[in-house]
Symmetry: C2
């Protein structure tokens, strides 16, 4: 299949690589290529603009940082929308606002095209391994058509519901991940400040109900004081911002999400926007004047 791929960043370049290896012909815009020269060697075709890509490809995938970037690549000058013709499919795999997503899907639909929101979880590790979790919103027929492409990039592919539901599921994921990391931070910091060895406490708790991949991985990062991402606090703040503004619009209180966001903000204020999310413990430590390690 002829596929357009716009957003060859840390994750996108691996995802695009899997599609090329799957035998598909990939197109991108010229400004993308400096980020992924290895894909050009593998056969990535380089066109001038996103509009050209949309003209050439049947399915156009976007994988960019946030809502404004999706809007720009789709509806900006020489953007995807300008090159679309009826029957094509736009697949946004970025993690953005579900509310804006519904608006984008409507506008793409008015051009006679399908739109899927298909954000992923699993980070660059999952992107590289082709084991991403992909949460999809959109029409059933479009989902079934694009499913073989998703299967090249991900392991767990779930059609949640209509447009926006993929982004909603992703935000639910980011809420749960952030709050579980914060939970581990409060638990280990309490234990440490009370004089217990957090290494032993984590070990004991991995046997019981408190066990999770987050206690395993992020708990270890907190203990070893290794805050290289992983997943950056700035990106997690972006997701929680989308969740909290969504919740406000829906008439919903998310008290612990709000507090976690404030703790991430405190990290960012101390220059920690690039820390892994597990760095949230540093904001708690700053309040307590106590360090875990």
């Amino acid at each position: 299949m002829e596929i357009g791929f716009l957003g060859l960043g840390i994750m996108g370049r691996y995802m695009a690589g899997h599609l090329i290896e799957g035998g598909h012909q990939l197109f991108t815009a010229i400004h993308e290529t400096p980020a992924a020269p290895e894909l050009v060697d593998k056969g990535l075709s380089v066109l001038e603009t996103a509009e050209d890509v949309a003209r050439k490809a049947q399915t156009i995938i976007t994988m960019v940082p946030d809502t404004p970037e999706v809007e720009e690549v789709l509806f900006g000058e020489h953007g995807v929308a300008a090159g679309l013709s009826p029957g094509k499919t736009v697949v946004d795999m970025s993690s953005i606002s579900p509310i804006a997503t519904r608006e984008f899907a409507k506008q793409i639909g008015e051009l006679g095209c399908d739109y899927l929101d298909a954000p992923v979880s699993g980070g660059d590790v999952g992107a590289k391994a082709g084991t991403l979790t992909i949460m999809v919103g959109g029409a059933d027929a479009a989902f079934r058509r694009v499913k073989p492409l998703f299967d090249l990039m991900g392991k767990t592919v779930t059609h949640i519901g209509p447009n926006g539901d993929g982004q909603t599921a992703k935000l639910a994921n980011q809420i749960i991940v952030a709050l579980t990391i914060e939970a581990v931070a409060e638990g280990l910091l309490f234990a440490s400040k009370a004089g217990a060895d957090p290494v032993k406490v984590r070990e004991a708790l991995l046997g019981g109900f408190a066990s999770s991949r987050i206690l395993e991985i992020h708990g270890e990062r907190m203990i070893n004081r290794v805050f290289e991402p992983g997943f950056r606090i700035d990106l997690h703040r972006k997701d929680l911002n989308n969740a909290l503004s969504g919740a406000r619009a829906l008439g919903l209180a998310l008290p612990n999400t709000a507090t976690a966001q404030e703790l991430f903000n405190a990290c960012a204020a101390r220059g920690g926007g690039g820390w892994d999310s597990s760095g949230i413990i540093r904001a708690l430590e700053a309040m307590a004047n106590h360090e875990l390690g």
Copy 2:
């Protein structure tokens, strides 16, 4: 070995049963037996008071609801302390305050006896199956002596450190469990209120980093509106109370633990003290005027 067991409640009676099956001679006080007539048939010896039990047994295990009950059974009239002689070991498997625990250990130590704090996690299911997680604080020699008894009752037995550290680890466990349940509640409620099917969202998230036994089990309880315990909100409030008052004494802020406690309080105020901890979602729903199911 001759073992005293005081506290034959929902969990204690199973734990005592495993010790009897392990070939040990068990003693208890007369007021305990109405709760566990089946153990008398199996050979449980019934004495008059806790003092008598301590006189007869080498190792005395307590498994009662909270700090005041431990204090009463150990140091009240005709309590354990009155019957102790040097060389015996007191093992408190209740979940109580780490600070009070250190005081109890000191007083027992002054009688020439060892003290272990060995709270458990895993609930009545784990108690029955003999698969509890046991977190132990106390001297190494005492731990090694009692270890074969722990192995009859539990699967993961960890010596965390000196007295109080077992209780500290248990509180860290309860913090992480409560906040992870609250995390799942915020995530699923957000998804549901935004119009996505929480069943699909939970299913998708079980494939990724948000995955945990709590998303699996408590997430399902929230979706099915089944709030029978499991673990009762009233008991979780007791643990978080110990964590929060400990944190206050240590000079530590636990913002999301404090909020979770307030949400549990809101449940209790609506008659939900006996609900499973997953009922915390009802407090969030009450604020949003929206129900998940």
